[in-house]
């Protein structure tokens, strides 16, 4: 995985609360066996008419938001299913970070493993970012993972929480599977002292 440090980008707001993973990527797109091509289907039901033409009033379809890299979502972003296709689709659609007041647990974990930053901010900052994104599509925010800060267009900085392990992995491009594989002797020791309850291949 590519290391992530600091990046700046313009924003687009979808301020609806409880945006679920069925909206981010509807289930009918989950019949793929790879991670590619999901960006086109991101928010498909909100984004396209029945005939496949884009809905002009949906923010992601508006030319001024076309290159947005930071999505400002409503509270409890990413609730619902465990599909990792949700961060894959958001990244496929060009996003590097989602900012909200809080995220659903599974979505947050999935995003961190793919390099899509779930950035948690306080309610006031959240409101401010929604207004900014809606009023000025060119407004840029900077997300700095090293210092765990969001830098607003007016220069104000807001700190965001992230678990230290995910931060380390993202900053250094370390993948979590590699870390786990390195613990083989610990796992072996655990298995030696804890007998398994089921044997599916027996």
């Amino acid at each position: 995985m590519e290391p992530i440090g600091k990046f700046s980008g313009s924003m687009v707001a979808l301020p609806n609360n409880d945006i679920d993973t069925d909206q981010i990527i509807p289930a009918r797109y989950l019949k793929v066996t790879d991670k590619n091509g999901l960006g086109q289907a991101c928010f498909s039901d909100w984004r396209y008419n029945e005939d496949g033409s884009p809905k002009p009033d949906f923010p992601l379809n508006q030319p001024e938001y076309k290159n947005a890299q930071v999505l400002i979502g409503g509270h409890n972003f990413g609730c619902g299913s465990s599909r990792e296709h949700a961060p894959w689709a958001l990244m496929g659609a060009g996003f590097k970070a989602v900012i909200s007041t809080y995220f659903a647990d599974i979505f947050k974990g999935n995003s961190l493993k793919n390099g899509l930053l779930p950035v948690i901010v306080d309610e006031q900052t959240h409101q401010q970012l929604i207004s900014l994104a809606q009023e000025d599509p060119t407004a840029q925010v900077t997300v700095d993972l090293e210092s765990q800060q969001v830098i607003l267009p007016d220069g104000r900085t807001v700190t965001f929480p992230i678990d230290s392990f995910s931060r380390y992995c993202l900053l250094n491009g370390v993948d979590q599977l590699g870390f786990l594989l390195g613990l083989d002797s610990d796992v072996q020791q655990y298995e030696n002292t804890n007998v398994g309850r089921v044997a599916t291949t027996a």
Binding site: T33, D34, S81, S82, L183, V187, T200
Partner: protein, 474 residues
């Protein structure tokens, strides 16, 4: 004396391979990994790319459920898969299982079914275990006092390769449900009431433990219905302490311990319930005596209410974002604030899903529909959770009762709960569904879902309009 611990803490502690440190999450051992066709292909790709094996195929079980058709078998007894993408995905699952030595309950074989139905059915799900699957409704297995939760595809690859997961310790929430249930009120109504109370994000960061005498009096299948929907309140896992009801359910199943192993296992399981004096980070209380049948009116499972209530008015909400959310939901559902749902015509009734497709659900539904007819305006689908459930229902003649009433009796799978397999609503249609999610388009693009119990679903199918099931139960 050691510090009193909750059920969750005991199961967590028992599975620590490496404790949490300031720099790293805990490394948690996984006893059972359930795999299905939709969230696993990319994980197997990771293993192939890195030349890795599955560490413990003997603690892994695969099935096919999400994209599988539930249409009748052909003359050869085969369930035809006509969607080329679904067919390709199922072939990938077969190849992955064959290449990596994982047992597979293939489409149409006698043990195939919804992943959260077959685990308990086979006795794979046992108290005190850690169980994961690339599916958020893995919380179902918590009904046995297991720590069970949904994971993403990256984590599926972690478990396949190492049998472990990196996890930060969640907080705990006690959900106490006291009192006795009225006739016509079921486990589904309890969980819809819990989610309406805590909200769709209220359980975020928590593991729930359901307790109280109402929970104790429920069957295992009722407890599974409740734990299943923990994720709809934002909690990755929900648990119920194991008791004699649990042990009776597990005993004698194919993968359950036998003989002396059984006795030793039960002795261990009896140590699992939360100790007197153990602390939870949060607690909510419901009195089941106050509960009526529940129904959802909106586009997330937290938007639920007693079936006889009126649809809430966004103007009564103080918080702007909540007002906006309710307004959007009612527009999507084409409902008016203050309107009653009872009497509202529906197009489809779906009885099925990992929430409500077990034999007791089908028995309850069949008992109510016996001697009645599905309204001519309604399409009613009954989709058993597994081939075993289907066979049991057919042995009891339940399928004949459903068919005589005019309902469709189908093959096992997730079906219209996730609408990946062609079983879906048409745009604008209304459904009463026993499944777990009423998100926009969940049951088909443009479709509108009211979540409810199997009893409410049947009563609605018979009348053709949303109906309080207490009218039809004795």
């Amino acid at each position: 004396m050691s510090k009193p611990r909750t059920l969750f803490e005991k199961v967590w502690d028992n599975h620590i391979v490496r404790p949490q440190t300031p720099d790293t999450p805990a490394v948690l051992y996984i006893d059972l990994h359930l795999v299905h066709e939709v969230t696993s292909p990319q994980a197997f790709t990771v293993l192939r790319e890195r030349g890795l094996k599955v560490r413990r195929p003997d603690r892994t079980m695969a099935t096919m459920d999400h994209s599988t058709p539930t249409t009748p078998r052909n003359a050869l007894g085969i369930i035809p898969v006509t969607d080329p993408m679904a067919s390709a995905q199922l072939d990938v699952m077969r190849k992955n299982c064959a290449d990596f030595g994982i047992p597979l309950y293939d489409l149409g074989t006698s043990n195939q079914g919804i992943v959260h139905v077959i685990g308990p059915e086979q006795g794979l799900t046992q108290p005190g275990m850690t169980i994961v699957c690339g599916d958020s409704h893995t919380s179902t297995h918590g009904a046995f006092g297991a720590l069970a939760f949904g994971i993403g595809t990256s984590e599926v690859s972690h478990v396949l390769a190492t049998q472990c997961l990196l996890q930060s310790k969640p907080k705990t929430m006690a959900v106490r449900v006291n009192g006795t249930l009225h006739t016509g009120v079921t486990a589904k109504d309890i969980i819809l009431a819990v989610i309406a109370k805590i909200g769709v994000g209220g359980g975020t960061g928590y593991v729930l433990e359901y307790m109280g005498d109402a929970l104790r009096s429920l069957s295992m299948e009722g407890r599974m219905t409740i734990c299943n929907m923990s994720i709809e309140g934002g909690a990755r896992a929900g648990m119920v302490a194991p008791d004699d009801t649990t042990f009776e359910y597990v005993a004698g199943r194919p993968y359950a311990p036998k003989g002396a192993d059984w006795d030793a296992a039960v002795a261990g399981w009896r140590q699992l319930p939360t100790d007197e004096g153990a602390a939870f980070d949060h607690e909510v209380v419901l009195n089941s005596h106050d509960l009526t049948p529940m129904i959802t009116y909106g586009t997330n499972p937290g938007m639920g209410m007693p079936i006889a209530a009126n649809v809430p008015d966004p103007d009564n909400l103080a918080d702007f974002s909540e007002k906006m959310a309710l307004d959007k939901a009612l527009k999507y559902m084409d409902l008016q604030p203050g309107q009653k749902l009872i009497g509202k015509p529906v197009d489809v009734v779906f009885v099925g899903s990992c929430t409500n497709s077990r034999i007791s659900d089908l028995r309850e539904a069949a008992r109510m529909i016996d001697g009645r007819k599905v309204s001519s305006n309604v399409r009613m689908m009954v989709v058993p959770g597994s081939q075993q459930v289907k066979a049991q229902a057919e042995a009891e003649g339940l399928h004949e009762i459903f068919k005589a009433a005019g309902a469709e009796w189908r093959e096992a799978g997730c079906s219209m709960c996730i609408a990946m397999n062609g079983d879906q609503l048409q745009p604008g249609q209304y459904a009463v569904s026993t499944s777990n999610r009423n998100f926009e388009g969940r049951q088909g693009k443009g479709g509108r879902t009211f979540l409810a119990s199997p009893l409410t679903a049947v009563a609605t199918a018979v009348n053709g309009v949303i109906t309080d099931p207490r009218e039809m139960v004795n």
